[in-house]
């Protein structure tokens, strides 16, 4: 029958494979849609699509809908779903994998401030080798909603008055080495 075989068309990586390839996302195929993750999730009420549905949508290939939704950005990384899932899926890790893919494909939602916060955090960590919390907070509010900062100002002031919000960042000594490591990691790229 060999002569009837045709060459397979160039296979585009499916969404589920894409998620599987991010560390922590490997087990998604064995989900039985029991709903334990959704039932356990402390923030699920706010998600465009709740955790169980997120898993179903990955497997059904709803890439754009999902990556542009607010869903995974509400994950607080409490890992309740992960310890309760009967199939060892690690839904929390899948949410993080979806965040990675949303950032990489430029689809991150504007409806949530979390993607911006995460980027501010990353910039801060890369810039000094340590996270500078005050700088990160200011940047987040400037980039999103400066007026929201007014409401939270008393919290910041309280922390400052109790000596818990240093005005200057700490920088590690090995910044040159860290930068070399991070530049190399960036070059090696990809999610793996």
């Amino acid at each position: 029958m060999a002569e009837t075989m045709v060459e397979a068309p160039a296979v585009k990586t499916s969404f589920v494979d894409e998620v599987c390839s991010v560390p922590g996302g490997e087990a998604i195929r064995s989900c039985i849609q029991c709903g334990m993750c959704t039932g356990s999730c402390p923030t699920a009420n706010n998600w465009d699509y709740q955790p169980r549905r997120v898993i179903a949508m990955v497997r059904a290939g709803f890439r754009e809908e999902l990556l542009s939704s607010n869903s995974m950005w509400f994950c607080a990384s409490c890992y309740t779903c992960t310890v309760r899932c009967p199939r060892d899926i690690k839904p929390a890790d899948i949410m993080h994998a979806l965040e990675v893919l949303a950032v990489r494909s430029g689809l991150s939602t504007k409806q949530s401030r979390t993607p911006v916060m995460y980027q501010c955090f990353v910039d801060s960590a890369r810039g000094n080798g340590r996270v500078y919390e005050l700088g990160m907070m200011i940047k987040l509010f400037l980039k999103t909603n400066p007026f929201a900062a007014i409401k939270l100002a008393p919290v910041g002031l309280g922390l400052f008055l109790h000596g818990r919000l240093p005005l200057r960042p700490t920088r590690i000594k090995g910044m040159k080495e860290l930068k070399a490591i991070m530049d190399k990691a960036k070059k090696l790229g990809g999610a793996k």
């Binding site: 955090f121 990353v122 960590a125 340590r130 922390l159 109790h162 490591i181 090696l188 990809g190």
Partner: protein, 288 residues
């Protein structure tokens, strides 16, 4: 004397200063030598792992590589650092491709990591290595009559903590070893909203309100937690909860090292008790 490599984490030097400061005298009193990891960097935390896994892995792995040279267990008092360093450590062991690339990146900074480090949480060291009995034998100011809600938060016990992920008991035992009463309460390992407090304050404030309500209803005079994020949310944002939900909580939230320190007779100043936003001085007065 027990020796460990010590990884404070960024917040222990800023928003969680009372943790960073109180760890040191308590460790000394318990014969724990915490050797700070030379020039450690941010673990990358959850945000970096939600933006780029390889970069986040390389960032965390620099610490693991530095720790490997010491030959000691790497101990952190921060639950988020604990989860992130543990998870990267596991991925480095289980995913050869990931390990290879991370090591290629590390080589650019003249480092290499062979996977030989054990990452541990300070609370686990206190519970497993020092033990409640060991701590109890050093108590000079028993906290008799103090009702404490032990708040585990999430990442100390999930996804791969050392205690029961649903109904943990280690902190309760530590609290009891100090002579205090660990009140039973349902939400002791439920989520406080963690870093969502910044981008999504309404969601996190709702979760914090539930926790404070439950602890108060069960008669707690204060809460105790090992986690920087939990402490900040419950302590620094308590006034926001009060104004949003029309409540009047006045519940001090102590780091577990602060409470242990009081029972060991360490002066309040060394435990940075004045740096807690909701002042614990009232409830602790009888023991200071």
């Amino acid at each position: 004397m027990k020796y460990y490599s010590y990884y404070p984490g960024c917040s222990a030097e800023a928003t969680a200063t009372p943790l960073g400061l109180s760890v040191l005298p308590v460790a000394r009193a318990l014969d724990i030598d915490l050797v700070e990891l030379e020039d450690w960097n941010c673990c990358g935390s959850t945000p970096y792992n939600s933006v780029n896994k390889l970069e986040a892995g390389a960032m965390a792995a620099r610490n693991l590589a530095l720790a490997e040279k010491t030959g000691l267990d790497l101990v952190t008092p921060c639950s988020n650092c604990y989860v992130v360093l543990t998870s990267v450590n596991t991925h480095l062991k289980e995913l050869p491709d990931f390990r290879e690339k991370v090591n290629e990146a590390l080589a650019a900074g003249n480092l290499t990591y062979d996977g030989g480090v054990k990452v541990r949480h300070l609370a686990e060291v206190l519970y497993t290595d020092i033990t409640p009995e060991g701590i109890s034998s050093k108590v000079t100011n028993p906290l008799e009559g103090l009702k404490v809600a032990s708040y585990y938060g999430c990442q100390l016990v999930r996804p791969n903590g050392f205690d029961d992920p649903e109904s943990p008991h280690s902190l309760d035992e530590l609290v009891a070893s100090l002579g205090a009463e660990a009140v039973p309460w349902e939400l002791k390992a439920r989520c406080c909203g963690s870093s969502l407090i910044m981008p999504e304050p309404n969601v996190a404030l709702g979760l914090i309100n539930k926790l404070l309500k439950n602890a108060q209803e069960r008669g707690a005079q204060c809460l105790v937690t090992p986690c920087p994020l939990c402490q900040i949310n419950l302590d620094a944002y308590q006034s926001q909860v009060n104004s949003k939900f029309n409540t009047s909580y006045n519940l001090p939230v102590l780091f577990v090292t602060q409470l242990i320190g009081v029972a060991l007779g360490i002066p309040a100043k060394e435990l940075a008790l004045s740096k807690n936003i909701v002042s614990p001085m009232g409830v602790l007065a009888p023991y200071l």
